[in-house]
Homo-oligomer: 335 residues x 2
DNA sequence: CTGAAAGCGCTAACAC
DNA sequence: GTGTTAGCGCTTTCAG
């Protein structure tokens, strides 16, 4: 069937060992003549070394597993691409699994992936995964966590984004533009990330001596439809700006305001969070907070591969990325 | 280090063979007692069979390679997820590689992936990849092509979308609404897909006895900025509808029309192609043509895995998916 | 400078 | 019902 190291050795009239050495560039001790000969034959025969066999003896497969909730979520799409690009540079491939935030699936996927002897795992746990759980305990495959921490012994680092800082900057931006009545549309507060974002809003008010009006904080859903309905049905619009926990909510709010005859940004300013593609395409384009997802993916790969290169290394701890405020046309100074 | 089949065999006081048989469910001939014992020990020891070793002897790794231009392109994101979901159901994992439409990278990635002994490859070639090239020729890994055909011997099928039919339906929709002056904004015509889409437009006119005005066909770029500038700078708006080769162009056109004081859909109707997320979020929401990317990914996986199950199977030939017209608020009957 | 031999963890005939 | 043996394609001591 396909050509093996043995075939090359026979053809070249040398031993497998010698061929192996040139494959792996451990050829200081091989004469130029035989080396060239082997190389030539390998090329002619279109030989590619079987990584399975290699991996079996070296215990390194040069592939890493990527576990994310859903590749279709743009945040994770970008993380994946970042991870892939860094990995490729280092000669690694990526096996990916979408877990749909499903606990059982996470466990299944980890098992599948470990069987394949990946060298390491980049894992973005679902928001429900409990820290208490010990199902990942027996794992000795090294892991880098993304976005959410887990108390596991083989973790080599955590890459996350400073959500609090994101809404902090967004809110500060509004305050700097003279807004003091700022509605905050939050996602479901049972979730850490959601709470961090809310805290950023609160902190920005506090730091800038803006009074907090509890009524301005509304817990909702991370959906266009939710914010649209909410704003549409509000009795009174007694604020000059809205800070939203994600872009979809911001876009829904803008649409509802428009239908109520209010202009964004002239009457009301709106900021979002995420910087989805739509943010720059709508009218007015949306001021929002971009998460450096691609860079985070790269970093996760980097930490994992660095560790793989030097297994004495300790966990790098938590690497926090700062989100970036992108100012567009949905926010405006008051008056 | 990690526990092997040998350890289990020793612990259970049986041979590796016996353990192997229960691992692979070839246990008709194993007594219930020993089977249970082995199972119990495997569980206790947290044993997972090493797929590398298995693969080395069975010649099947249960992983498939996925080669796409860019995972961040939503069309390919959805294809990937479809492929992944079907593959998982069948016990396969996916290694993915983004090629950035780069010819050299495609070749590199295929090589990397073949070394890892994937059982098959799902390949969406870059638009520039020439049929003439023979670099993929020596491959004996089976392949299913997506979106674009390639003349390779080991192809087991091609999954594509009927682009022509897509613009045909979109144009027909406009004609049905009474439009006769329909501007067509095309992408770069060197590309097959782009030409197919244009042909759909032409065919719809012809079939419905609408005169073709050559001036209505404009070759541009698949970008928001291009159509925005183009419409913004047009001397005369002498049409009642625009059919765009993708959604970004449609959205750019709508923005430019708005800035020229024209209302969509009251003054001008606009249709797009792709159904990106933004399409339903903008105001007015965009009538467009959705490509069944997820389903295409599933199908590609299905074809490949079917073949893997029965290697006598011939190529299934070309499977063509019909795009779906999604009618929203950017189109309206004339008068 | 090169090769023989052992072994990675597993499966698959074929005996017993 | 269960075990023996050979071998998948490769790397790695260790000799020569």
């Amino acid at each position: 069937m396909s050509v093996t190291i043995k075939d090359i050795a026979n053809l070249a009239g040398v031993s497998k060992t010698t061929v192996s050495k040139v494959i792996n560039n451990k050829d200081e001790s091989i004469s130029k003549a035989t080396k060239d000969k082997i190389l030539k034959i390998m090329k002619e025969q279109n030989y590619v070394p079987n990584k399975l066999a290699q991996g079996l003896v070296t215990k390194r497969t040069k592939t890493i597993g990527l576990l994310i909730p859903d590749i279709r979520n743009p945040f994770f799409t970008d993380i994946s691409r970042g991870a892939e690009d860094y990995a490729r540079k280092e000669g690694y491939n990526i096996i990916f699994c979408s877990t749909d935030e499903d606990y059982e699936r996470e466990v299944e996927c980890i098992e599948m992936i470990c069987e394949k002897m990946v060298d390491g795992i980049i894992f973005a746990p679902s928001s429900n995964t409990s820290n208490k759980d010990d199902r990942y305990k027996n794992l000795n495959t090294p892991m880098v966590l993304v976005d959410k921490n887990l108390d596991i012994s083989n973790s080599k680092g955590l890459v996350k984004v400073d959500n609090k800082n994101g809404t902090y900057e967004a809110t500060k931006h509004l305050i700097n533009k003279g807004h003091k009545e700022i509605l905050y549309l939050s996602g479901p507060l049972k979730n850490d990330i959601t709470r961090d974002r809310l805290n950023g809003y609160l902190r920005a008010l506090e730091k800038n001596n803006v009074n907090l009006n509890e009524d301005y904080i509304v817990e909702g859903k991370y959906k266009y439809e939710w914010s649209y309905e909410f704003i549409k049905n509000m009795k009174e619009i007694n604020y000059t700006a809205i800070c939203c926990a994600n872009d979809l909510m911001a876009i829904g709010a803008i649409q509802a305001l428009r239908e109520r005859g209010l202009n964004v940004p002239n009457d009301i300013s709106v900021v979002g969070f995420d910087d989805i593609q739509t943010a720059k395409l709508i009218d007015p384009s949306l001021t929002t907070v971009r998460q450096p997802a691609y860079e985070m993916g790269e970093k996760a790969s980097e930490i994992l591969i660095d560790y793989l290169k030097n297994k004495d290394k300790d966990s790098v701890g938590t690497i926090t990325f700062k989100p970036e405020l992108i100012v567009r046309n949905s926010t405006k100074s008051i008056e």
